[in-house]
Symmetry: C2
Subunit: 322 residues, 2 copies
């Protein structure tokens, strides 16, 4: 029996896990990460923690097939470097793979973008476990995503699956990427909050929620969604606009990729079936019939574990490929 | 030295070609097709023509690696059937592969959608010959396309790459697919003609071209494009609207797929560099910077030969895969 190591890197901690070959976790834990001194302690700390756990399990590194790791930033898959992961201190091309090699010798290490490994996770063990063609869309502070086609991650030249930056509104709100009207500016938690605040303060809609905005209260996206569910006029208008725009984006994805499942994750997806129903309605009305007929839109199932599971699944996929 | 057979099926004729292994055509010719009697003579006629040509070249079927064929309609790749190819008389699942097997015995035959093989053609020998990540968009009566990722055709569950049915205008003009506002209703030859006629007859723009529409003249898309190039106010307005919408569609594709090249083909692309410049400008202003930075938008190079070359290239790709 062989084992697989999954790592999901984040700005304050890394989630680590030891899996069996069928991706059942036998141990999952966290290690603190710090961007201090350009994040040079991150990999050594992770390796130390891994070695201790492997020993504790009565195993040896040679019992493991490889390490899969999800990281923020831009990944150079060939060189094994990560660039622009500012919350890790890895601003310029940080040689992650080389660092692992230095510490572990010739041991297989695969690095992938964190949004992409989350998609692999949902495809391996989550809401899309029974299909080879799926898209994960995560609605958090931004909008992220990953695409699996024929069981393989779609990477393009380097950064395919940048779903958050698909244009939803030409000349729309400015996006952090430098472009305008990206779906991220509308359907992310940030986007939903901005829409609600704008409409409330400009008195476009009057409602209890609008009143709270006018009073200068600090209102969470959960409160906006809850208000919408309870029939608040502002909440409903905002969610209709945000999910209307996201529904069209999903319809574009369905046309281009013809997936079997589109999985919605991230904090905003805590709105649950209410969100899915809104998206379903827009997709139903606006998607090329052959590509919409068998399409399912579903809530993500793995929450924060998607990344570490997907990172481990990457090891299996890359081994199969080579 | 081995050879490859390429076939590009059309409603009035099939283009056939015999290629070397590096996809140089040693012979290219046409065979009439007819939808008569549910198109049952099409495959036997093609096989007869192929056998005669192979004999004439002093070859044997065993000198050939396989047949690749592009067909209109929906392809079931596993079963080898074609459905809904009305101009061939193949309305319901027609057993194309079985028919070839009946006539040729156990000989490799690969069937693919005609828009997809055209993309493979441009990727093998045309405008995108040096990249593994490309998209072909053809602007004809409709808008078609095909997507190659990591050197492989993107198929999704069955019909990925339905670029013509990506939504360009929510609640826009009705599309033949049953949906509304597909890019096909705006940027195809039909769409451009409709836009021009509408704007002329509703006197939205006055110009020599608008006058000709009002006189009830029969005006070609070429005439509209030429008028635009010569500064006609209506022509310019129409092309700006059509290419503006298509540019946003290309920007969506760049975000999702991160291709190195997007290739524009079909009759409307005869407008040449003028078209590319318009698209480039829109993509430049509306695309996620990392995915636009190295993206090239180019004219297709192979014209009507793209399909038959791509069909042959499919044989090489499928052999490599298995």
């Amino acid at each position: 029996m062989k084992f697989i190591i999954g790592i999901d890197l984040g700005g304050t901690s890394a989630k680590l896990a030891l899996f069996t070959e069928d991706l059942e976790a036998i141990k999952m834990w966290q290690v603190a990460t710090s961007s201090e001194d350009h994040g040079w302690k991150i990999v050594p700390n992770i390796v130390k923690a891994l070695q201790a756990e492997i020993l504790k399990q009565g195993l040896d590194l040679s019992d493991c097939l490889g390490i899969g790791m999800g990281s923020p930033g831009a990944i150079d898959r060939r060189k094994g470097t990560v660039t622009g992961a500012y919350n890790l201190g890895w601003e310029t091309a940080y040689p992650v793979k080389e660092e692992f090699k230095h510490l572990l010798g010739d041991f297989p290490v695969y690095i992938e973008n964190d949004a992409n490994v989350a998609a692999l996770g949902e495809q391996a063990k989550g809401a899309a476990a029974d299909t080879e063609n799926m898209v994960l869309v995560t609605l958090g502070t931004g909008v992220g995503g990953g695409i699996v086609c024929n069981g393989r991650l779609l990477t393009g030249q380097a950064s395919a699956g940048e779903i958050g930056h698909m244009i939803a509104k030409v000349d729309g709100p400015p996006c952090t990427c430098g472009s305008k009207g990206c779906i991220e500016t509308i359907a992310s938690a940030t986007g939903i909050h901005r829409l609600a605040e704008e409409k409330a303060l400009s008195s476009q809609v009057e409602s209890p929620l609008a009143k709270r905005f006018k009073l200068g209260e600090d209102i969470s996206v959960k409160a906006i969604v809850d208000a919408a569910k309870n029939g608040d006029a502002l909440g409903e208008k905002v969610m209709k606009e945000a999910m209307g725009a996201l529904g069209i984006t999903l319809s574009q994805l369905a046309c281009v990729l013809n997936p079997e499942k589109i999985v919605i994750g991230g904090g905003v997806a805590n709105a649950g079936q209410y969100l899915i129903d809104q998206l379903q309605e827009v997709v139903e009305a606006n998607t090329y019939p052959p590509n919409r007929r068998h399409l399912k839109i579903l809530l993500a199932q793995l929450g924060n574990d998607a990344g570490v599971i997907g990172a481990a699944s990457l090891v299996l996929k890359e081994r199969k490929r080579s």
